[in-house]
């Protein structure tokens, strides 16, 4: 009884030790690849920064259009640092893939295939987000300028609302393109649109009486030729 129990305990332990013994060189190789890869990433980052800085690359950030684009994108670091970081992260990703391939070539192939298959969607999603941001800023600014020049009160709220709606619309498109959160995005968009329309209807409904009176007063005065500016600007 005792030898049988001992064997039943010993055998799995032996198999574990044997597997561990076989896995040890693989783990060691992964550790070496990761260490070298991360060191290389750090080295390339530092070297690139130094070279670019020495070459005066950061001066392009002083150009108005570049500075404006960087500021709008929320990037406050010099271009040399940004480029160095970009290369560092690229090397880190390649290193991680290399380490994964040591562990299992099949797993790496699967991950790579999935990444490659998802890449177009990811790129399209990102493009939609960037486009959405640009369109929402442009539309919001256009509405702001129009409404301020028309002397509409609450112009900033109006512009902010337009910007939010356009932004959410593009975010919903991007999420749908990426294949997740589709329903949530559509619901959010519907709530925002519906809420916006309801809020506008309520606002106009409540304030419309006064607004209509003001408009009619103004129209009457204009029809009578009262209060009408006759200034010729040109």
């Amino acid at each position: 009884m005792i030898p049988e129990t001992t064997n039943s305990l010993w055998d799995p332990l032996t198999r574990f030790l044997q597997r561990g013994e076989a896995l040890l060189p693989v783990l060691l190789a992964i550790a070496i690849v990761l260490t070298v890869g991360l060191l290389l990433a750090w080295l390339v980052d530092a070297l690139l920064r130094w070279i670019l800085r020495a070459a005066g690359f950061d001066r392009i950030a002083h150009r108005p259009r570049v500075a404006d684009s960087l500021r709008r994108a929320g990037l406050r670091q010099p271009p040399s640092v940004l480029l160095g970081q970009l290369f560092r992260w690229l090397i880190v990703i390649v290193t991680l893939l290399g380490a994964l391939s040591i562990l299992s070539a099949e797993a790496t192939d699967v991950v790579l295939a999935a990444m490659v298959a998802y890449l177009p969607r990811l790129v399209a999603g990102l493009l939609l987000l960037v486009t959405g941001y640009a369109v929402s800023v442009f539309a919001g600014r256009g509405v702001l300028i129009w409404s301020v020049n028309a002397q509409i009160q609450g112009a900033r709220w109006l512009a902010g609302g337009v910007r939010l709606l356009v932004g959410v619309f593009f975010a919903a498109l991007a999420l749908e393109n990426l294949g997740f959160g589709r329903d949530i995005a559509l619901v959010v968009l519907a709530i925002l649109l519906g809420g916006g329309v309801l809020a506008a209807a309520l606002a106009y409904g409540l304030a419309g009486k006064d607004l209509a009176r003001e408009s009619l007063d103004r129209m009457t005065r204009e029809a009578r030729g009262e209060d009408q500016e006759t200034l010729s600007h040109l």
Binding site: R141, L144, A155, L231, S232
Partner: protein, 426 residues
Amino acid sequence: MTESTILRDDVRRQLGTIGTADLVVGIPSFNNARTIPHVVHAVTAGLAKYFPERRAVLVNSDGGSTDGTPALVAGAELGATRAILLTRPPQPVHRVVTAYQGLPGKGSAFRTVFEIAHRLGARACAVVDSDLRSITPEWLQLLLAPVLDEDFDYVCPLYARHKFDGTITNSVVYPLVRSLYGRRIRQPIGGDFGFSGRLATHFVGHDVWQGDVARYGIDIWMTTTALVGDFRVCQAYLGAKIHDAKDPGAHLSRMLAQVTGALFEQLEAHAPHWLGVRGSEPVPEFGFRYEVGLEPVAVDVGRMVHAFDQGVRDFAPLYARFLDAETRRRLAVLAGRTPKDFRMPEDLWVRTVHAFALAFHLRRLNPDHLLPSLTPLYLGRTASWVNQAADYGAPEVETELESLCELFETLKPSLADAWREGRMPS
């Protein structure tokens, strides 16, 4: 030089029949049935009285009027000879009545006139607005004679105007053109001009008809193009300019954007010329100056100041992109004033205009957003001027305007330095 194809087939055939002309007078129009008969009569009377032996063509370039404007021009009785006491029969005036092609706007209408003048080999041309109520036959002599008799290429108008009228001209265009191009042309965008056939041909050769130049920007484009070219420029005193009231407050923002946009685009194109200009000099003047009674002008200063306040508050994030902190601070301080006490310091206005010109040059903001965002500040400047000039007579108005122009000239070097270095003024 590009050969224009803007003329319709029937117009080209008509020009073939006419052959050549000494004088071409263009009248752009759009729904001006109320005023255009008077303008046509004044033009034909002027041609008959002062140029009876010249072959003249009157061109009506219409933007698709629905009130019968072209028909009125085509059917107008020409040559009111009895009224102007002619001693000999004048040459008949040919009429070309056509709908212009291209973008809707005065610039496209003028383009048709330029091409007709070019094709007819005209020696002298004039363009006059179709909504004028104060045009007289003498205007034709004043606009055409300097070209025919004195070899000038471009005749700008000089008007007697109400002190509150023409504020875009007085606050932006005249001071900028004077300080940058170095010539004291008082009405660079007056609307009524005389020009030589040589200059008409020069105008036709430009390909600028897809933007603001095709609309309200045509006047400033013509003036600056003449100034930087090898053309002799003068101005002629025409008296009062009274034109049909057509809801003057409407589309101010668009009008201001088109004029400033066209002017700023010209600054881009002419930078090598104006960067080297220092000071300014007067241009030769024709015509007999006299005092005229002017119609009163109604202005709502409270509305303008309110627009200024709202603009300074709501456009703050936009202004932060191209106006320096000190300018924004001073504008914010002004935004709290009551309409009665509202005064915008002249140097603040000059710095603001320069900042907009530089922001346009450096593309700090999309031009479609940048230019209309000047409207509230312009209204602030106008309100300030109305308050300041409330008790001014004509001499004081010109003195103050002279002082503003001198300030534009004084501050020009900082604009030029920033322009050369590609930065906003510090």
